[in-house]
């Protein structure tokens, strides 16, 4: 018999450069806040799952799961670091959810963390390219922005995408960042400013790309019997799906779509037993502006070719029919890789508690989407208000 799982405590550092704070310190700060908020005794926490991508090459520190558990004073429980490139945090969450759901334990801790901004651009580029299949795509000189530059160009030809439509995504997310105290950046940008920023991978420009960040986020998951009255408002985990897509660019059937996202969304909605029209707020993987358009279509929220219109018409703004990335998304909140998927859930929990600085009013159901590598790993999670 499985048991229902809720998020009963959350914690997060600010995302962005944090000189003087190491990855362990960031992770402990977020995790301690989550444990304290949950009100759950730490001896009841039966497992730790840690999402991290590249702490080895960038900080020289591995076995983060065990080290952070030691700092937190947790018992000698199983502590596991998981890695799935940019989806590492989402994967850690799913494994913690499975551990509680399957009664391996009644409470589990999820931590995601990354420390990047101390490294040189060369080190970061080399480390990020570890997420590419370096037997094939890597040897060509391709980069991750390059993958999305190619997707943009094909989408443009197929659906008549305009620069102004993509800029609408950038303007929305950067402006949302202004209202998020944890966000790395926030700004009201004009179309001109975006269009005059330098090319990174044509037609993609600087403002179309997310920044590298430092940061950590954490969640405590628990079964119903451990939920403390008077503790933080719990949020239900209705679904957590994880899928694999093609590891190589040439393996993708369509450059304008990620099979892993399509499949994970299908599984997640099936598990949650709700429809796409029930979702009130979405935090999705906008590592690049064009990615938000592709992802929202892959998740099935609108027909192919319509994602860009939705952004331009304001339908994905807070107050629109489907608010996407009210946190500022990766574009403005930042992308400390291993923390991102956990941070998306942190943001969505605040929305469902009615306690977000950029609030989607009366949100009952939220969805998070975390995509790794060239689409090789994906998680889609659906959360619901406890009383919904």
């Amino acid at each position: 018999m499985t048991q229902r799982v809720s998020i009963v405590g959350i914690g997060s550092t600010r995302f962005g450069p944090q000189p003087g704070k190491g990855i362990v310190q960031l992770a402990v700060e977020a995790a301690e806040a989550a444990i304290r908020e949950s009100g759950i005794e730490r001896e009841r926490i039966g497992a730790l799952y840690f999402g991290n991508f590249i702490s080895g090459p960038l900080t020289g520190q591995e076995v983060l799961a065990g080290i952070v558990a030691d700092h937190l004073g947790l018992a000698n429980i199983p502590c596991t670091k998981v890695e799935g490139a940019c989806a590492s945090g989402g994967i850690a969450f799913r494994h913690a959810k499975l551990a509680v759901e399957s009664r391996q334990c009644d409470a589990a801790l999820v931590v995601g963390a990354e420390k990047m901004t101390q490294a040189s651009t060369e080190m970061i580029t080399a480390a990020l390219n570890c997420a590419m299949d370096n037997l094939s795509d890597g040897v060509s000189g391709l980069t991750f922005p390059g993958l999305f530059g190619m997707a943009w160009r094909l989408y443009e030809q197929r659906y008549g995408l305009t620069r102004a439509q993509v800029s609408a995504v950038v303007r929305k997310n950067k402006a949302n960042g202004l209202l998020n105290p944890l966000a790395q950046m926030g700004r009201y940008l004009t179309d001109d400013e975006i269009e005059q920023s330098p090319f990174i991978c044509d037609p993609m420009r600087l403002f179309d790309c997310c920044p590298t960040s430092d940061g950590a986020a954490a969640l405590v998951l628990a079964a119903d019997e451990l939920i403390e009255t008077g503790g933080a408002v719990p949020v239900r985990v209705l679904a957590s799906a994880q899928t694999r897509g093609a590891a190589r660019i040439a393996g993708h059937s369509d450059l304008c779509s990620f099979d892993a996202t399509v499949a994970a969304a299908h599984l997640a909605f099936k598990e949650a037993g709700i429809d796409r029209s029930d979702i009130d707020v979405v935090e999705l993987h906008d590592c690049f502006s064009i990615a938000e358009i592709l992802d929202s279509e892959d998740l099935g929220f609108m027909p192919r070719g319509h994602g860009a219109h939705w952004a331009k018409e304001g339908r994905t703004a807070v107050g629109g029919d489907l608010p996407i990335n009210p946190s500022g998304g990766l574009l403005a909140k930042g992308h400390p890789v291993g923390a991102t998927g956990v941070g998306q859930i942190y943001e969505t929990v605040l929305q469902l508690r009615g306690d977000h600085q950029n609030l989607v009013k009366d949100a009952a159901f939220g969805l998070t989407h975390n995509l790794g590598g060239t689409g090789v790993a994906c998680t889609v999670n659906i959360l619901g208000r406890y009383d919904a």
């Binding site: 795509d137 530059g149 190619m150 040439a250």
Partner: protein
């Protein structure tokens, strides 16, 4: 450029001796039937451009080469490859006919064929 070089610029790919699947490789098992009987064969280097971009911030290993162009090409041999693109014209668009004109680090380099 003229089409006469088609025979001269073939691309080495993997052919499954068991089920006939073609794959750009490298890999040790056939992605369809899982046979380990993969042999390298040459296929014609003609294809259609699926998309392309210009890499202006290259990874460290390619820093000296930037900016350069990366493309995904659908070969006439019914297989998709990640490749380099050389000297694209300003009007080049997905669907353009391209031809392999050489390799770099075993990665095919394509050039647009005049329409």
């Amino acid at each position: 450029m003229p089409k006469r070089e088609i025979e001269d610029c073939q691309i080495n790919v993997l052919h499954c001796e068991n089920c006939g699947t073609l794959d750009p490789g490298p890999r040790s098992l056939c992605p369809k039937c899982h046979s380990a009987e993969l042999a390298e064969i040459a296929v014609p280097g003609a294809g259609t451009l699926l998309s392309w971009t210009t890499i202006r911030r290259p990874p460290t290993a390619f820093r000296e080469e930037g900016p350069y162009h990366i493309a995904v090409v659908d070969l006439d041999a019914k297989l998709r490859v990640t490749a380099r693109l050389t000297a694209p014209s300003p009007g080049i668009a997905p669907g353009a006919r391209v031809l392999c004109v050489g390799t770099r680090n075993d990665v095919p380099v394509f050039q647009e064929i005049d329409a």
